[in-house]
Symmetry: C4
């Protein structure tokens, strides 16, 4: 009985993509709510305003890092959805789990910006990235197992996707570990890894990541 | 005169789907605004930060519950829209009523998170779920009566949809009733029902829900 | 020179529709941010919570009114866009002006909810509705004059759209005038007009609106 | 290895457009959160409410300016995306950089509205516009170099796009320079430039911009 409903539920790749784009767009833009103009009462001169804005720059960096994280995972999810012939309700729910992790990013980011020197904040931030990676790994695997791939998808797409996620997550985990030294080392390393993914070098050791 | 306008108004299923995906995406992401990083002045050590975050965990659970609720109703609405050949203005307005209930979820969730032990908060939360179910039932029924179904939709789709909503709402109503014992019993039961809908078991008693 | 760029700019109806759905979705959901759970410190019993929530009910009514207003104008814009063959940059900018009026609704609503008995708040709210109507009238007229209509659009569509907007705006203006008696009379009348547009009666005097 | 993944990543123009429309829609609507109804405790008469709202009017002007800025860049990006045959991952990341600049607009706007007479605020606002222009220039150039243009795109589209951006940015830079006189001169000049772009005159000197 219930299974009959389940057969017709959650089949639209287009709507999954639309909901995903919406959640990413809102999460990406909500991050900025964390960046607030200094209160007008506390500023008495142009120099004070300059100093107050300079004090916001670590927040801006954390925000840029989160925007990039969301961008990387948006590209990753898009790559999977582009090669889907259709969805099923399990895949839909795995993607909803992924979107749940996306919707947590503004909170993790705000926590990180507020407590930039605390390991707890950094580890929660990393846990959020780990959840994003784990869910995307699960959607990739289910897509292959349930035969939802489009006919023209490259044969090795599953291998490429899984390899990509595993390498990235290993690097993120190493970055998180660096907080044993100092949370700034962690942040610097994570930013470096992200820069490589954004630039996407085509040659050399980095081109193999 | 007016009816002529009404004949051409509100016919686009695509735009209804796009607006719906937008409202769901914003509502799902706004829930998180309720999760706020503790104020930096109140935290003096890593241990205090850990305790403050632990104190947020019931909120995280309520938020997860609301995200899941929205996910369940998003899948439900999508399943209906996927089988529409076209819309009419009455169906459009019924879906707008459904979206109104969606847009109330961040408020109900925030109330529930703030007053987790109060029956009033739980009953309002349940009333929101009831409104979601009632509107989705109404859109399903109108879709069938007005002959808006696509030609390739399964013949029994109306029966499946109505049965699904009635069983789910009965379970939710029972969960709400449990607040006579304790609001935590209600929450636990509702979370259990949702877990079943997310996992969507294919066999046994649960597979018949 | 510049005109050559203008010839290729702003032609996509699909993207205009997507941006519009996004702005409507965000505006509709942001309204709810105005509804806030009472502060936990001010509530000491279930009865106090009930009273605090009851005190929110006028706000809920204003919110419902604004959601309905946005719904009416969303259906109105959609009806125009559905019959477009293509857009041009002037039409795009007229629609952006319309979306500006949409984005002001959360502010007008918040003002109205806060100062429900003040004429200034009601007149600003009405001014927002007037701006929405005026922009939609302008987009309708430009669409006809610039020959952007799809081939299969009904011949009299322009007449229907303009007649519809003029009658609605006359009713809203009369509603606003009622604030000379009392702002509650205005609100009641506007809600009544909206109810008629939502239900869309097919017969009798109301069917001719 | 990595390059193989890069070959299949970020190819969907539709999803890039959908994410962009989402980010623009949220940013355009979030601007309004800066416009807040005056606190009910501070208002004791209709006249006081009128004065409090009048005091908000410079904010409304800044908000209108930002909405227009976002509108101009939305039309600009749309014009590029409309003529794309496909995307690649570099183009996707350049557009994500552009969207980052879009997501900063609510912050720049809020800063500008709060410190309307301070050069620092104006220069940061201008820096945001410069970043938007620079990213859009980069996406335009990459689109041409990487041969991503659709077959039916006008041959000189690249020239038109680059010329358009360079002229606009020169005007904005001149407007920013005017803050050496006074920030209000800057604002006035920028609003004038925007009005020309919105109206898009077809003849005379302005038609050549």
């Amino acid at each position: 009985m219930g299974t009959r409903y389940n057969l017709i539920a959650g089949q639209s790749v287009e709507r999954l993509a639309a909901l995903s784009d919406g959640v990413f767009a809102v999460a990406m833009t909500l991050l900025v709510l964390d960046l607030r103009a200094p209160a007008v009462e506390t500023i008495h001169s142009e120099a004070e305003l300059g100093r107050a804005l300079l004090a916001l720059s670590p927040r801006l960096l954390v925000y840029l890092m989160s925007f990039t994280t969301l961008g990387i995972f948006w590209v990753g999810q898009q790559t999977q959805l582009n090669h889907l012939a259709r969805s099923d309700r399990d895949l839909t729910w795995l993607h909803l789990g992924f979107l749940f992790a996306v919707s947590l990013m503004p909170f993790s980011t705000s926590l990180m910006a507020e407590f930039i020197a605390e390991r707890t904040a950094l580890l929660l931030y990393w846990a959020n990235i780990l959840l994003l990676g784990a869910m995307l790994f699960a959607t990739g695997r289910h897509m292959l197992r349930a035969g939802l791939l489009a006919g023209d998808a490259p044969a090795q797409i599953g291998l490429w996707i899984e390899r990509r996620i595993l390498i990235a997550q290993t690097l993120y985990a190493f970055g998180a570990l660096l907080c044993l030294v100092n949370t700034y080392w962690s942040l610097g390393f994570i930013l470096l890894v992200q820069a490589i993914y954004v630039i996407g070098p085509r040659r050399g050791v980095l081109g193999r990541i």
